[in-house]
Assembly symmetry: C2
Homo-oligomer: 330 residues x 2
């Protein structure tokens, strides 16, 4: 058992236990209990989800069937929402038949049909609120709810993700666009009925006062992109790397493209300028001595987690626990 | 056992068996036997490496210790090169002690010391040939070789990766810059000695006539970036996805940032325009019907493979084999 961070083989995904604890506490104070439905897609780790549950959040959002299965297996299946469309719902039906509560997002006759055929009992109508992705047109929400009820499904309400808004760096603009999106969702909810209006993310958790529950996930671990928004959460996840090569003008750390999601741009290293990442390396300056350790802050947390089998929970220089990133895959 | 591609749960990593076979045969004809030292970092799959071995290539390049361990475990440890610097070589030393042949790249006194201390017996001097990454300055290669020999290590030659050249779309420019890089490497080799001059990649496999062996890997599966170079290899790997949502102006497939490396940009879908990828989705147009399948061509193959537990080898509409992507992790 490795107990010192400096002894970890690199690259290694490390989580600052205190920052994680603080982030979870800050969110639980702002959105207590069922006001938050933490999204597990941002960390893919049932051990971390358990901390969120201990902070009072019993209900979770999942993005994949595998995440639902893993959460149920970990005893965290009290009330799961698969906030995503699926055309083969049989594995969800199996979870429901075994006693878990799993609701599924639907946005079309085909996904309603798939839910009913697969043994799902409860759905939310997914409404498009401005992001060009999933969700029905708002005017179709009521008729789809009716169709779902005709198929014997319980309609618990609506969901609508303002994903085009959560990352806006201008806080005022984020609030304005959040309002525009949520007015669409609230109107659709009036047509649909049910108790849930599920929406939001880490960027809008404070200003989205229309949703009955917020689906934030990234707040627990954070990343470069969310770090720019001035939110009261601090960076908790890093990729630990070793400087394996050093030149007069740069150094090279042994963590690259297979350790971090790159769609939000390069990682950051405190006090250093990152030049570029390649498959196994990150080049940066000013140079450091070969053998030194660096901590990279990933640009985007979700696709970073999906690369790692495990995370090392650290307190100062100590490794205090090892958690499997057990919700990966499909 | 799923035998039809259409029945695979999506997202799924699929490989066109014929394209793979053709790519391997084309490369083996151009660089037969030991002229190619295939790089396994591009596919991370021992079943695929075995096809390369059957095509005549007995020696392989690895990027991580885990890749070396996996190749040895699969009986493919005849002559492995860890083409990367490490500061803890004990796991490599254990492979060597157990009878595998694993040489390691070194570019500094520290990495030489680590190799000797870890039980490595053979090294290559890694020389920087223009890419700001690993490799010593060319003038330091001779003295480092001497240092390695003083430490009891066998120096098999040099390696130098022209990674800044392999992706240049202008073929003439690629050849010119390859020559510039390789002249540095050949000069360093004169100072170092040994039988190996190891270099090159898929983009320079044909024009790099200075190296004694080429480390190409991407040619087997290919990606969007390499597809632009006019090489005689065709796209063999795809992410299969299902259209889960459709709007009047776009559709959404269920494969996103956690299925594909994004550092080379968006994936491509034949006949469609990709708008953007998010964690679990790709939005594209013109729209398709919900339930249709699409094949995404990843922008960059290496970090794509690292996301998937397995690949499905397909022939037409049939799944003919399932291969674990067994060299992932560290």
């Amino acid at each position: 058992m490795i107990t010192k961070m400096a002894d970890l083989p690199t690259p290694a995904l490390i989580v600052d236990a205190q920052a994680l604890t603080d982030n979870i506490a800050t969110m639980a104070a702002a959105l207590p209990g069922d006001r938050l439905r933490p999204h597990v897609k941002a960390h893919k780790c049932t051990s971390l989800a358990r901390l969120q549950e201990q902070a009072g959040h019993r209900n979770f959002t999942c993005a994949t069937i595998r995440e639902c299965e893993g959460m149920v297996a970990a005893g965290l299946g009290h009330d799961l929402l698969l906030g995503n469309e699926v055309l083969d719902a049989r594995r969800i039906g199996a979870l429901v038949a075994a006693g878990a509560r799993v609701s599924v997002a639907v946005d079309s006759p085909q996904t309603i049909e798939a839910a009913a055929a697969g043994g799902v009992r409860e759905v939310l109508i997914d409404v498009n609120v401005g992001l060009p992705r999933c969700g029905c047109q708002p005017a179709d929400a009521g008729p789809l709810a009716e169709l779902a009820r005709q198929q014997g499904l319980e309609v618990r309400g609506v969901m609508g993700y303002e994903g085009h808004v959560v990352g806006l760096e201008d806080g005022g603009e984020r609030e304005r666009q959040c309002r525009t999106s949520m007015e669409l969702l609230v109107a659709a909810h009036a047509d649909v009925g049910g108790e849930l209006v599920s929406a939001g993310g880490t960027g809008t958790y404070a200003c989205n006062t229309w949703a009955s529950e917020i689906q934030a996930g990234s707040y627990a671990l954070m990343d470069v992109a969310y770090g720019r928004l001035g939110l009261p959460f601090r960076q908790a996840v890093f990729v630990l790397a070793t400087v394996v090569s050093s030149a007069p003008e740069w150094s090279v750390a042994d963590a690259g493209l297979k350790t971090m999601g790159m769609d939000h741009g390069n990682p950051e290293i405190e006090g250093e300028t990152v030049w570029f990442c390649s498959d196994e390396h990150t080049t940066f300056s000013p140079p450091m001595a070969v053998g030194e350790k660096v901590r990279l802050v990933p640009g985007h947390v979700d696709p970073t987690m999906a690369y790692h089998e495990r995370l090392y929970l650290c307190s100062g220089a100590d490794v205090v626990d090892v958690w499997p990133v057990d919700l990966r895959g499909w």
